[in-house]
């Protein structure tokens, strides 16, 4: 290991962000730029009888107005679903709907005008004759006979069923169990609310027939492929450039290929002017793919000593009105595979029914299927502990996979790479002073106060791969990553990554990897990402994959550069390569044992480009590219402990203490890792206590603004104590595991366990998230408070 990996290098991207100098899609200004606004359906389910655009078109400054048929007639394709499970029924989804709206916010028409104000005024003048139809909502309720069909051809609104596990072993576990715990849970609908709303701009150059699209995407190469292969087939991939510049947060909601990414470039070409669309916050609420929304019916089988022997789960997942890009993956492959958690459990079976409703589509949201898995497992184990009168940490420890049992094959497909769950919980108990907390809780109880302590632990599968495995599981792409390194003649370096940073700090951490491997300074490495013309290929950033897959690709590319430098140095110094050593401290190549006989990094770079003296067969130049296809997923783990106090009179919950211990393998930048953990915890606590995307029976989104959708704020948190253990991943040479989603995966059950613990005196077994003060107060009142 060199001198940069493991150091808390300050983020090089931050100065521009905190000075307001970021370059976001909304900042793109081009000569003659026109502005697009999209008319959104106010109804959850309605037939479009007619659309009258005459008055809107007559408005001064309106350039043109388009409806669904205009795009279809011009050869625009349907929105693709790029992760499909077997027998998946895929409903048609057009960028602008031609005949029927299926959720509030569905796209009906697009106006292009001289400025965004005129465009929005024109929306008010479009007259749509809707024939309003009954709506269907509810992940499970929507499958009942007689419910309205979201898509006429999809019976009972069921898009797919998918099961995984050892059904026989599971049935046997329940037959032989000493104790069975049953728990029915709802993992509620969430709305991602990235700080930057989605946006898209496009420029068509008639002379060269080149299209450039700027979009707020986590994966511009996938968007380029989707556009040229499916949605805008009139554009050729090699003449289409997709740029995702600075992107202000995604949390999964910016992975997907969205209708506006089709509408805006199509209009730009049609009117032959650059165009831009920027979502309002209201549009974000009703058009960004949302998260979670599961109904989970669970059973856990145990021996009387607390040994877990089986888990049976029936899951209904609300997919919304259409399948968003990778939606079928989320409640299936990426969810049920984590039902084993930190534990040995021979008898697991889970089955998901993916259903359609008249609501905004649901897809990956930070954690994506894994928080839903972790929540049910960590909640039902807590209930088991209560019923068996065991300490919640004790019952978990009893079932942990031991550190000597890795690699560990679970009954739900995964081969865990490494971990040490006992050590992780040792550290958690020590930092939190768990015994002391329990003693303090007992004295608080004597004073009549409602103090609760909750724990949870989870395993995440991050850095999806190899490509063949994800292909077999339903993905149309590869999940490898590309990394390129260009050493310039002066010895400065540009690193190209197919990962995309939208808050993660890749410009720092990827530079640390490259500088570390080449023995140069971080400041001498510039990281380029988010541009399909500059970066050869890429799979983007989601699923906590960037370090484990993208970082490894760059590390491998750096090795190729090192090898060439050593070969070149041997030639220039007329020594054997075997006699040379590469100095990780300063990037020089020197004769072993004779450090003064050396060639500096910049000297060798210049020699490679001058080409005056190169070894036989060596080409000039000093750049390389690597594709890295991971051999396995990585399996980070984490343990959280929370103390809450519930106010008896108001039902308010105060989070008083939060301790998190994570294992994400080797750490590239501890400060960046801590930032990810804290952000993830904030989002997870948001799910547990505050956030809920609510639809009424008519399919109206009644939490359609920040007035009614509560996000967590800084004053909702105590100082979060975070620490870690490191069990390096054997899956990559960096030894790293994903870290971006751990916080949001592990925290919701920890918080709910704590609140249920606080209310144990009222006989409370479970409370549905979010744990609003109203809900808690009512519980206390109805249970004899």
């Amino acid at each position: 290991m060199g001198k940069h990996i493991g150091k808390s290098v300050k983020r090089v991207e931050d100065p521009r962000f905190i000075q307001g100098k970021g370059n976001y899609v909304a900042n793109i200004k081009l000569p003659e730029m026109a502005h697009v606004a999209v008319l959104r359906s106010p109804h959850a389910h309605a037939k479009i009888n007619s659309i009258n655009i005459d008055a809107a078109k007559a408005l001064d400054g309106v350039i043109d107005i388009f409806v669904g048929k205009d795009l279809i007639d011009d050869g625009v394709g349907k929105m693709p679903v790029i992760w499909q499970v077997p027998d998946n029924k895929i409903p048609d989804r057009w960028p602008l709907v031609p005949d029927k709206v299926r959720h509030v916010g569905d796209s009906v028409a697009a106006v292009v005008a001289e400025n965004q104000y005129i465009a929005r005024d024109a929306l008010d003048l479009i007259q749509v004759d809707y024939e309003v139809l009954d709506a269907t909502i509810g992940a499970k309720a929507t499958t009942e006979d007689g419910k309205p069909l979201v898509h006429d051809e999809i019976e009972n609104n069921i898009s797919f069923k998918w099961g995984l596990g050892d059904r026989e072993a599971c049935d046997k576990a329940f037959e032989e169990a000493d104790h069975v715990v049953k728990l029915d849970l709802i993992n509620q609908r969430l709305i991602a609310n990235a700080m930057e709303p989605r946006a898209c701009a496009a420029q068509w150059v008639t002379a060269t027939e080149n299209m450039t699209v700027w979009t707020t995407s986590q994966n511009p190469h996938i968007i380029r492929f989707g556009l040229s292969a499916v949605t805008l087939p009139m554009l050729d991939e090699h003449k289409l450039r997709v740029i995702s510049p600075d992107v202000g947060g995604g949390f999964g909601s910016k992975i997907f290929h969205y209708p506006e990414e089709v509408i805006v470039p199509w209009i730009a070409k049609k009117i032959n002017r650059p165009c831009k669309w920027v979502a309002t916050r209201s549009e974000s609420f009703m058009t960004d793919s949302q998260g979670r929304d599961h109904v989970q019916n669970c059973k856990l089988a145990l021996k009387s000593d607390g040994t877990i022997t089986g888990l049976y789960v029936e899951l209904h997942a609300d997919m919304g009105a259409y399948l968003s890009s990778i939606a079928p993956l989320i409640p299936t492959v990426i969810c049920i595979t984590l039902f084993s958690g930190l534990y040995k459990n021979p008898g697991i079976w889970g089955e998901t029914t993916g259903t359609l409703t008249n609501t905004v589509p649901v897809d990956a949201y930070r954690g994506a299927g894994r928080p839903e898995a972790s929540y049910l497992l960590e909640r039902i184990i807590d209930v088991a502990a209560k019923e068996l009168d065991m300490d919640p940490i004790e019952i978990r420890r009893k079932n942990f996979i031991g550190k000597d049992e890795f690699p560990y094959q679970t009954p739900v497909a995964f081969l865990y790479d490494s971990g040490d769950y006992h050590a992780m919980f040792d550290k958690l108990e020590e930092i939190a002073d768990y015994k002391g907390m329990r003693a303090a809780q007992a004295s608080a109880k004597d004073e009549g106060r409602l103090v609760g302590i909750g724990v949870s632990g989870s395993v995440e599968a991050s850095g999806y791969g190899p490509a063949a495995t994800v292909g077999a599981l339903g993905f149309y792409g590869g999940m490898w990553e590309h990394g390129g390194i260009r050493v310039h003649p002066t010895g400065k370096v540009t690193a190209f990554t197919g990962s995309h940073s939208h808050g993660q700090g890749h410009e720092t951490t990827m530079a640390q990897i490259v500088a570390d491997k080449l023995g140069i300074e971080v400041a001498d490495v510039d990281v380029v990402h988010g541009d399909t013309d500059l970066v050869t290929q890429g799979m983007g950033t989601y699923g906590s994959r960037s370090a484990a897959v993208g970082g490894e690709a760059l590390s491998n590319a750096a090795k190729t550069i090192r090898n060439k430098l050593v070969t070149l140095a041997a030639h220039l110094m007329e020594v054997s390569e075997d006699d040379l050593a590469y100095d990780d401290e300063n990037g020089t190549v020197h004769v072993k044992g004779v450090p003064e006989k050396s060639k500096a990094f910049g000297e060798l770079a210049f020699a490679a480009y001058s080409g005056h003296s190169l070894p036989e067969g060596m080409d000039p130049g000093l750049e390389t590219a690597a594709y890295y296809n991971p051999g396995n997923f990585t399996f980070p783990s984490s343990a959280h402990l929370v103390q809450v106090e519930v106010d008896k009179d108001t039902g308010e919950i105060e989070v008083q203490k939060y301790v998190a211990v994570e294992d994400c393998g080797n750490v590239i930048n501890p400060m960046v890792v801590e930032g990810q953990i804290l952000g993830g915890i904030a989002q997870g606590v948001g799910q547990a206590l505050y956030e809920h995307g609510v639809y009424d029976d008519d399919g109206q989104l009644v939490t359609g603004s920040m007035l009614d959708y509560t996000m967590p704020r800084a004053d909702n948190f105590p100082m979060i104590e975070s620490d870690r253990i490191e069990t390096p991943s054997p899956s990559n040479t960096l030894g790293v595991k994903g870290v971006g989603e751990m916080g949001s995966i592990t925290s919701p059950p920890a918080v709910v366990n704590a609140v249920v613990d606080a209310l144990s005196g009222y006989g409370v077994k479970d409370i549905e998230m979010p744990l609003t003060s109203e809900k808690i107060w009512n519980l206390i009142q109805t249970n004899g408070g």
Binding site: P42, V128, S282, D698, Q700, L701, S705, L707
Partner: protein, 151 residues
């Protein structure tokens, strides 16, 4: 989302006078929450200009208002349907008049649905606002009816 308003009021006038008053679009407009004006189109049909202000949301609707099941002097039912720039509303209601010894009991029932931004942003306030407007509206209505009977 669904909204329901129902309330009974009392007015110190004989039922026939009240019945006469609710035939007058200018007076009737007073009691329909958020209704700015009613323009007769004939055949018991009207164009209603409705302007809803709920919290931060304002939505103007040009709606159709139709009376049916008319039973003089006991009351009638009505249908409202409108599209505005920020959403849509539709509903139905009933006005019932009962004679008693002190005058007339006036029952107003309205049920409807709103869609769009009124539902998304205004839902928390819309029913409460509607009730408040209905009370205010009835006071105005009563004054107008009494005034017109005195004149």
């Amino acid at each position: 989302m669904a909204i329901r308003l129902e309330k009974e009021y009392h007015i110190d006038l004989p039922r026939e006078d009240v019945w006469y008053a609710i035939q007058n679009p200018d007076i009737l407009a007073q009691i329909l929450p958020n209704c700015q004006s009613l323009e007769p189109k004939g055949n018991n049909q009207f164009t209603a200009h409705i302007d809803i202000k709920v919290g931060p949301v304002r939505s103007k609707f040009e709606s159709s208002f139709e009376m049916f099941d008319i039973h003089e002097p006991e009351g009638y039912k009505f249908l409202v349907r409108g599209n505005g720039k920020n959403g849509s509303m539709n509903g139905q209601g009933e006005i019932k008049l009962h004679s008693n010894k002190d005058g007339t009991n006036f029952t107003f029932i309205a049920e409807g649905n709103v869609a769009g931004i009124l539902a998304r942003v205004g839902q928390r306030l819309i029913e409460a606002t509607g009730k408040k407007l209905m009370d205010q509206g009835f006071e105005n209505f009563k004054n107008k009816v009494i005034e017109s009977n005195m004149a």
